[in-house]
């Protein structure tokens, strides 16, 4: 069973001065799975990825990537994985082909094998026709595709993708999500970090939720949703200041959690059909008018809210 693990993380710790960036993170990812690390900015996702890439040395703990220890076998780890960093890390004054050739050489590819693989990757990322243009002239989405292409050159067993969809247009985002699924279908293991709940929900076999450097929950989507006890999330917009009614609404029967976010009241309820009429009655009593209602079935956002008392976008 152990042989099927692509990533095995054991009690990783990392601090920068007094800032405890990662505290006792552990998780496992089977071969051919997509594992998403979900959490807000500053949760410790990138620090964790950096340690798993051998860019940072953990203060404590260890991890094995395809059986190679990040502490004692950095070269083995680096050979087994491809990294797609959060920022575009390419040479803008070189062409896409020159970039891929250079990075291929850094992964030990040479000669005809390198040329063939560069052509293959250019086909995969759909940039064969524009391969001889300098990357600096590409759109943001095209750069992202080359950024991913670099990590695929040496056909790694494991690929890390650190927030690859940040700051790009919806079409490019869709292309990247599709390519992640395609990588999984090719048998690659993907460790994917994001603070977009929908991406984690759509892509992953397993999700790890991080906050303040800790892994606060880990499991499949279904397992995580069970943590909130099947709660439904209701977001309401009112004609009055939501803080004025918040305290009263927390006492309404069926409301299990209430908070104010971005001028809206966010409620976690067991049964929305029962609670909604009570909310309208309470609003009428308080001379408030409900101007919009958004009902969401249990999801990872609700899980995060349930576990931390904050929305993921905070």
């Amino acid at each position: 069973m152990e042989a099927l693990l692509a990533i095995e993380v054991l009690n990783l710790h990392k601090s920068f001065g007094e800032n405890l960036a990662v505290q006792g993170v552990s998780f496992e990812v089977g071969q051919g799975e997509i594992f998403s690390l979900l959490g807000p900015n500053g949760a410790g996702k990138t620090t964790t990825i950096s340690m798993l890439s051998c860019l940072l040395r953990p203060d404590q703990g260890d991890a094995r990537i395809m059986g190679h220890s990040i502490r004692s076998d950095g070269t083995g780890v680096k050979s087994a994985l491809g990294v797609v960093p959060q920022d575009i890390a390419l040479y803008e004054d070189l062409t896409a082909r020159e970039n891929l050739s250079f990075w291929g050489k850094m992964y030990g590819l040479r000669g005809a094998a390198l040329k063939k693989r560069v052509d293959e990757v250019l086909d995969v990322i759909g940039l064969r026709e524009r391969a001889n243009e300098r990357v600096g002239k590409y759109s943001g989405g095209m750069k992202r595709r080359v950024n991913i292409g670099v990590a695929l050159l040496h056909k790694p067993k494991v690929i890390y993708m650190d927030e690859p969809t940040v700051g790009i247009d919806p079409q490019s985002r869709r292309n990247i999500l599709d390519s992640v699924v395609a990588l999984k279908e090719q048998g690659m293991t993907v460790l994917y970090t994001t603070h977009y709940m929908e991406e984690a929900q759509e892509l992953s076999n397993q999700v790890g939720i991080m906050d303040h450097g800790k892994m606060i929950a880990c499991g499949t989507h279904e397992e995580l949703v069970k943590l909130v006890g099947g709660q439904t999330r209701i977001d309401l917009t009112l004609s009055v200041d939501p803080l004025k009614v918040l305290e009263a609404w927390q006492g309404i029967e069926g409301v299990e959690h209430a908070s104010v976010e971005d001028g809206q009241i966010c409620l976690l309820v067991a049964d929305s059909n029962l609670v909604l009429p009570r909310l309208f009655e309470a609003a009428t009593r308080q001379s408030a008018r409900i101007t919009s209602v958004d009902i969401r079935e249990p999801n990872l956002e609700a899980v995060f809210l349930h576990l931390t008392g904050r929305a993921l976008r905070d």
């Binding site: 070269t75 960093p85 004054d93 020159e98 990075w103 992964y107």
Partner: protein, 435 residues
């Protein structure tokens, strides 16, 4: 192999940068070209034409023992009854007519006044006992007062060069006569005047082309040149060091700029990405440093060849040039690595290029721009050696002046010592940072 891949990639990036290429190749050649046009007056005349130096002479020499130099050996074929006449005859000769414009003053005071009022650039005051002192073989000291406009450099320097040459020749004559008298019998003393004339004739006869002989700077092994070539040589004594200075200044600029790519890659996030590949970090750093050396090497090689082709600058013998170029390349590269290792990020490059490189570069080149002012030259010699640029320029100048390879080698070794120290500190600091 991966180190060379990294170096080649960095060089490709450098040479694709328009500004880098302009600063590496175009600016040094352009600045030199401007000096070439300025001093060579090429745009107007199609040839070299140094402005004539106005010289006022107060020849007060009352003569000494009777002698007559063979007129055929005096430029212009005139008679010279005193040593003062001889100096005047030489300066008035046709050979020097393009360089010197002679006028006369009745006394020393008038001569100095002519310089003070800028009617002349130089006053030569030949004292009444000039010939007598020259003839006093044992204790005499023949001295010409040289009075110049302190704001001028090139004209007075040309005049000083002519007079130095003349006085050296006369000094040689005195030594020869002295030696003769030490061994001569009493009756031979009567022959002294004839001997003096004979040596004067010989000394003057050695300088058939006074202007060319007096002004030419050439490698000892080089072939004799025509008058036109000699004029060109004078131009090159000005242009050559300037080109050399520009080359060294911009080589150091390139060294610093290329070494900055380490910091730039860190900011572009490509350096951390390189560290995620199975390439040892020491190899990555080696590749980055290699690119600095190779880029400066290409720049210096191209500039040496281009300056030879465009301006006809003679850099010296092959072995000397190779040594001097090695000194430039190594010191420029290592200095760039050293300085960058103290920088936190590329935002500090303004301080680097505007401050450190400019100040040290000017210190290194001070010698070149002070070459016609003896005091400044002496100071410049000392100051320039406080910075690596000074040693790099020194090696190149030695090569241009035809110094023996051994002399250039010593300077190159000194530059290497600087380089080794800079390189060691720079690499140590970068290693501490990344590896």
């Amino acid at each position: 192999m991966k180190a060379f891949d990294i170096a080649f990639k960095d060089m490709t990036r450098s040479f694709r940068s328009f500004f880098a290429v302009v600063f590496m190749f175009v600016v040094p050649l352009m600045v030199t070209g401007m000096f070439y046009l300025m001093f060579g007056n090429i745009a107007q005349n199609g040839g070299f034409d140094l402005p004539r130096t106005a010289v006022v002479i107060a020849n007060l020499d009352e003569g000494g023992p009777e002698f007559q130099v063979n007129p055929k050996n005096i430029p212009g074929g005139r008679e010279a009854r005193t040593m003062g006449d001889l100096v005047v005859s030489i300066l008035e000769s046709e050979d020097l007519a393009d360089l010197v414009e002679v006028s006369f003053a009745a006394d020393a005071k008038s001569a100095r006044a002519a310089v003070d009022t800028q009617q002349a650039q130089v006053a030569l005051i030949i004292p009444p006992d000039f010939s007598e002192q020259f003839a006093d073989i044992e204790e005499g000291q023949a001295v010409i007062e040289f009075y110049q406009d302190p704001t001028l450099t090139i004209g007075p320097a040309v005049m000083r060069s002519i007079l130095d040459r003349f006085m050296d020749g006369m000094g040689g004559v005195k030594i020869a006569v002295n030696v003769f008298l030490e061994d001569a019998d009493l009756e031979d003393y009567a022959q002294t005047g004839i001997l003096v004339e004979q040596y004067l004739d010989d000394s003057l006869a050695q300088s058939e082309d006074a202007e060319a002989e007096l002004l030419e700077v050439r490698a000892p092994a080089s072939a004799p040149q025509s008058q036109d070539e000699s004029k060109q040589n004078l131009l090159l004594t000005i242009i050559g060091p300037i080109m050399g200075g520009m080359m060294v200044f911009y080589a150091f600029y390139t060294g610093a700029s290329t070494a900055q790519s380490i910091l730039k890659e860190e900011e572009e996030r490509t350096l951390p990405r390189l560290f995620t590949t199975p390439t040892p970090q020491a190899t990555i750093l080696t590749g980055k440093l290699l690119s600095v050396f190779l880029t400066v090497l290409v720049q210096v090689t191209v500039l040496l060849i281009a300056a030879r082709l465009f301006f006809g600058i003679q850099w010296g013998g092959l072995a000397s040039v190779v040594l001097a170029a090695a000194g430039i390349v190594l010191s420029a590269s290592s200095f760039g690595i050293f300085v960058n290792s103290f920088m936190k990020d590329t935002k500090q490059s303004g301080v680097l290029f505007g401050g450190v490189l400019t100040v040290t570069g000017m210190m290194g080149m001070i010698k070149i721009f002070a070459m016609n002012s003896p005091i400044a030259k002496q100071m410049g010699d000392t100051i320039s050696l406080l910075v690596p640029q000074g040693w790099a320029i020194r090696g190149l100048m030695q090569s241009m002046q035809g110094e023996p390879v051994g002399v250039v080698l010593v300077t190159t070794l000194a530059a290497l010592a600087w380089s080794a120290a800079f390189f060691a500190i720079g690499v140590w600091r970068f290693n501490r940072r990344y590896v």
